[in-house]
Amino acid sequence: MSIPVGWQVDIGLEIHAQLSTQSKIFSGASTAFGEAPNSQACAIDLGMPGVLPRVNAAVYEKAVRFGLGVTGTINSESRFDRKNYFYPDLPKGYQITQMDEPIVVGGHIQITGKDQSEKVVRITRAHLEEDAGKSIHDFKPSFTGIDLNRAGTPLLEIVSEPDLKSADEAVAYAKAIHQLLTYLDVCDGNMAEGSLRFDANVSVRPVDAQDLGVRSEIKNLNSFRFLEQAINHEVQRQVDALTRGETLTQDTRLFDPDRLETRAMRSKETATDYRYFPEPDLLPVKISDAFINDIKDNMPELPGPRSVRFQSEFGLSLADAQLLAGDRGLGDFFEQVAMITGNGRSAANWVRGDLLGKLNEQNLNISESPVSPDQMGALIGLIDDDIISGKTAKTVFAALWAGETTQPAEYVKAQGLEQVSDAGAIEPLIETLLAEHPKQAEDLRAGKDKLMGFFVGKVMQATGGKANPQQVNAMIRQKLSP
């Protein structure tokens, strides 16, 4: 959907990322997903009388890592505040969050548009807070059931400036953040389990207007698709209303993916005086330079710079480099193979092609690959050393994948898959073929180069794929040359 003519759109996103910790932000209960209702909510998560929060160190480590990843400022002193409102999934009647002194301030991330255009999106802040429980509306008629397993799950709320000018840009930004979070092991990125949720602040204004329009906040979008759809429908709604001469009021909305529309929320966020004040049960958190430096020293190379390096160091295309650098495990795998073989392009072709294809087919992560980088490197080495053909290599790869062998070189030897490079063995074959197909031989000599494939194919067929195609090619040319 394109932006209506005569209008421009301003979008800021608030991304809630669940941090991939073992235990909750303020208690020692498990963050495991999908357990029986209320089986993961301890007395602290339930807000029982007399209980007190504590602070999980891992949430700070992950938040700092993200902050460094977006080149933000890490506040050496941060503090928790209480945000007060009543809702059944909020056990204490307040959420512990960071209002005035968040852990990360500022930062930016680069996004790539569909047309490969690049843009920098500014990040306002990222702060730590606790997730709420879940309301279950369809279990018992006229009642809502409350499951507090999710209550107290650590969240990093990442707030962007209203730099995003379309739904496409918003999605590209959300995907860039998703990639960074998973790359840095800050969040598992599992959208289906709600590990990443978006609130979109959307406003429109005439193209020549200076000031931002009246915004609506669309809450709780849990997929890239819904994010895109919700923004597009909200933009259209606002433009339609303004075109009719109506005045918009700032509101909070929900997206209905079945009806493809946003509607104003009736409850929860309507009373907006949250009465933030410093959480008296927790002290301010001071993190030392040593803590930050330790994280800095252990930061992996980020996808952007890594992609640039893959292009210059290994001669990869932009697309290959971005794909391989976009996932930390995949990038590491590729780089190991490239180091072993000294052949970056063919390492990229194999990892991106055969290996990734097989992984995707079986829904496996790179860390679960049955073929190791060493094996992959050895396999490519056999091709580069002209011991096997590319075609044979696919057979060897299949054997590695199936676990029939762990040593490509031994397997090739045992199965007799070495290329036939002995000119003496191939020459008679070529001579026979040229004799059997004089018309084609003549045409080839006359410059009809695609017939080369015909003859090479015949030789490969006759040798059971063991001949070296380049060698066969060269020998045919020699035979035909005057």
Partner: protein, 486 residues
């Protein structure tokens, strides 16, 4: 062997010598509770069965010669401390049937030391009050005069010790809730440094002010109790990690040359003339023991009441939001919808004073008023703290009255809210600063006990207890027996 007047230290000797068993001692107190508590109403819940079982265990430990200073000593716990298996009400209809599945760190520590819990004591609802009249379980009466209040909010804990219905008790102090009832009942009551004792399992009123402490018959007993109650707790981020000194071994230090600060502001306003006279008399006793009296100023003390009545209600407005009738606590009949569930459960479950403070706190934090109220109160709080920091550069302890008057009549102040708040006018500043403070008996005014307040530097409970003990070696006010519970 006089059990009625016996301190923990004396009972220890009786138990260790075998003059009495822990079971017999427990039965002695349970019997007194039966006799006197109908009129005094100090206990909300009695735990006679578990007390006897603990006493049997304690006798075995004593026989093995492994007793701690508290093994077999029967105590009472303010009903703000959660104890697994026993109901914890906070003096409120909201929690009239609440049983916590966990135990407060303080209660665990005392139980581990061998103390026997006789029951849970009455209190002002959610620790909000200075007379113990704001209890869903009815007012507590002062064993010195049944028509008078025992003070609050730890009124049940105070009256129970004063009436000999337990050897000692736990209290909590947010603005004076240990010291004021200790003064009005003729006891020794200590509010330690904020953070000295874990708040885990203690139902919160105002988190940055709440502090647990002992209520006892002597300073020595307070030292014994504090040694067991204090210490680091990973479950309370605000509990201090500093090691707990052996308070009992510092009790007999010489106080010669100890610098005692006297602040004229304590004597200027609202102080009953006879209380003032008794306070000055106590200061002369301290002087006679070798302490030096030095005039000091606490320039912002006059603002402590105002700051307190913003900060405490603000924190309480959030702390009490969890009582929503969903996971525990009172729930109204047949709620029409969610909003009805919230407002009626809270409206019916909370008493008037609690609702009033929640509304004040909500207002103090609300948009447009935060800076003028909460923000300003926090800045004034810093000034009050600075006053103490500066004062303790010159003196070791600050001494003054605990309350403006002795115990007042039941019903005398119930209707006029703010008049009641003035009860804490001398105690609140130490709470805001977080410094330790205690009240010790300083004589009788119109046959009613009054208290002397000792305020110490951060984490210097040892000097307070030392000074209090030396005062009690020179006086016998703390040994007087409340006449309505002979």
């Amino acid at each position: 062997m006089n059990l009625r007047s016996a301190t923990i230290a004396e009972l220890r000797a009786f138990l260790d010598r075998g003059d009495i068993s822990a079971v017999e001692l427990t039965d002695y107190y349970l019997d007194r509770i039966d006799r006197f508590d109908k009129s005094l109403n100090t206990y909300i819940t009695r735990t006679a069965d578990t007390a006897r079982a603990s006493a049997i265990a304690a006798d075995k430990v004593i026989a093995q010669g492994k007793a701690t200073s508290l093994t077999g000593i029967p105590i009472a716990e303010k009903d703000l401390f959660c104890i697994e298996g026993t109901r914890t009400t906070a003096g409120s209809k909201m929690l009239a049937n609440f049983k916590a599945p966990y135990t407060a760190t303080v209660s665990t520590k005392l139980a581990n030391a061998g103390a026997i819990t006789l029951g849970k004591t009455n209190m002002d609802e959610f620790a909000m009050g200075s007379s113990n009249e704001n209890s869903y379980f009815g007012p507590v009466r002062n064993p010195w005069d049944l028509n008078r209040v025992p003070g609050g909010s730890s009124g049940g804990s105070a009256a129970a010790v004063a009436a000999g219905l337990c050897a000692a008790s736990t209290g909590t102090d947010t603005g004076g809730s240990i010291r004021q009832p200790a003064a009005l009942c003729g006891l020794t009551g200590l509010k330690p440094t904020y953070g000295r004792i874990s708040r885990w399992g203690m139902i919160a009123f105002a988190s940055s002010l709440d502090q647990a402490g002992p209520m006892t018959r002597s300073a020595e007993d307070a030292a014994i109790m504090l040694e067991h109650m204090a210490g680091h707790d990973p479950q309370d981020s605000t509990a201090l990690a500093e090691p707990v000194p052996a308070y009992t071994s510092a009790l007999n230090n010489d106080i010669k040359g100890l610098r005692i600060g006297v602040c004229q502001a304590f004597f200027d306003t609202d102080l009953d003339a006879e209380v003032a006279a008794k306070t000055r008399e106590a200061l002369r006793v301290l002087e006679s023991l070798g302490a030096k009296l030095i005039d000091i100023a606490l320039p912002h003390m006059a603002y402590s009441l105002g700051a307190y009545y913003v900060i405490a209600p603000a924190e309480c407005s959030a702390n009490l939001a969890r009582f929503d009738g969903i996971r525990y606590g009172y729930r109204c009949e047949n709620p029409e919808d969610l909003q009805d569930l919230y407002t009626r459960s809270r409206g019916e479950g909370f008493g008037q004073e609690v609702k009033k403070r929640i509304l004040v706190g909500t207002f103090a934090l609300s948009a447009g008023y935060y800076d003028a109220f909460y923000g300003r109160a926090q800045r004034v709080r810093r000034l009050i703290k600075q006053d103490f920091v500066e004062a303790f550069n010159q003196v070791d302890v600050i001494v003054g009255p605990t309350t403006p008057t002795p115990a007042f009549g039941i019903g005398a102040k119930a209707e006029s809210g703010v008049d009641m708040y003035l009860q804490d006018i001398f105690t609140i500043s130490a709470s805001l600063a977080g410094v330790p403070a205690m009240s010790i008996p300083a004589g009788l005014v119109a046959d009613l006990p009054i208290g002397l307040q000792l305020i110490g530097n951060y984490l210097d409970e040892a000097t307070l207890l030392n000074l209090a003990h030396q005062f009690q070696q020179a006086t016998d006010w703390h040994t007087l027996i409340a006449p309505e519970a002979p």
